[in-house]
Symmetry: C2
Amino acid sequence: MNQKPNVYQDLFLNHLSLDCVVFGFHDSQLKVLLLRMKRTKDWALPGGFVKPDETFEVAASRVLKERTGLGDIFLKQFKIFSDPLRSQNNPIVSDLEEEKDKGCIEWFHQRFISVGFYALVDFSKAEPTPDFFSDQCSWKALDEVDALMLDHTQILTKALETLRLQLNYQPIGYNLLPDKFTMPELQKLYETILGKELDRRNFQRRMLSYGILNKLEERKTGGAHKSPFLYEFNLGNYQKALQVGLYGGW
Amino acid sequence: MNQKPNVYQDLFLNHLSLDCVVFGFHDSQLKVLLLRMKRTKDWALPGGFVKPDETFEVAASRVLKERTGLGDIFLKQFKIFSDPLRSQNNPIVSDLEEEKDKGCIEWFHQRFISVGFYALVDFSKAEPTPDFFSDQCSWKALDEVDALMLDHTQILTKALETLRLQLNYQPIGYNLLPDKFTMPELQKLYETILGKELDRRNFQRRMLSYGILNKLEERKTGGAHKSPFLYEFNLGNYQKALQVGLYGGW
DNA sequence: TCAAAAGTGTTTGGTTTACACCCATGA
DNA sequence: TCATGGGTGTAAACCAAACACTTTTGA
């Protein structure tokens, strides 16, 4: 244990990291926020480490604040990735070698156990910002995502799976859509996440039956066709539905 | 960093622990496996640490093997508990002070981030076995559980909540019931977990419609009334239902 | 003025709920 | 033999899928 202290070791807990799958919705597509690593140009999920006085949730919020400028984001732990070999061959290490920062190399060579979070954010409000290891931070449509760094593809896949499952028993859309939105927009969101088309009229009936929407007087103009009504989420009921679920079940 | 090496530091990853909420079903009651701490007589969840070559899942299996004798247990991560203050005042420390084992005290004084697992096991096959810090390991009915050590009450509550949610979209019962069981027994299990009564006939129809049960020729005799049929789980369909869910949803 | 999008029903068929009835068993 | 639990069936209520018609809009 004769390694010299370094900034990571001093600031963060050993062994632990977190990775965020940040979903946004734009242009009728579900998109993910990705970082491009400086040297290898690999794409990776935004991630970070945990300070001694933080919970994982707080650490994830901090990371997302840095990457998107947004606070108060919908965030959910979905799985821990603890394969002992998962963080081998971290390309960040080679970045650091160029900078002769041996102390940090030790840090990045250790085994990391990573907590996966997924986040839902309003695409239009986020301002993607790269971190120290990356030269680019941008949105990618899901079908444009190639192989990611380390096990990040696996993390992304699992997040998407969880999101689809969640759709079956929890409301979704707040934090993914602007404050006011139309029913067709909400439907498009569902269709995009599920990857299939839904019946317009049945969708609307079902959605309204949940009681989580407020119908507004306004309509959205400017489209080439009949102007649709605007809706907003009824936050009280929305929160309740998040906890209790949409179906009674048993 | 001048502390002397100790067996924990050598064997396990720093900062990290896991806690298991082990559910069993007996006597029409849902029970949890608890340990009684040697000195303070506090009750606690079975837990443990992670070796450098283990995933969390493997570590949790190892712990459960030690506490119950059972392998191949249904195990599920449900949440990470990472409050910086959660592991303060660990009573284990005072046990160790009595044994003058200063090296280990350092270990237990560190901040722990714990991964919560819940497990479903066949009550009749488990052999509760205390660990080094406890003098007793036994099943407690849920309503007999008093305050637990540290934040373990909170962990237990969250596990139960997750279990109830799971009931709404996943099959349950395999690993909680013996290989062969009757429909009333299965129903009792559901009623116990949900904390409410269900209609006998509707329950049966619904259960059968899932296609995860095989009806056997045998009947269970010895009861004071009409002998009910025995069933077993259709493992293929059961596993599929675990992944896909019981309801189509959207 | 017209194609496309959006609002608003209705019909139909399956599923769930709430029951009733009969049968088997050991006390 | 009888109280109790268990197997099986059915009418009514409910809900969801499929589909039709009208209205509005900018090009």
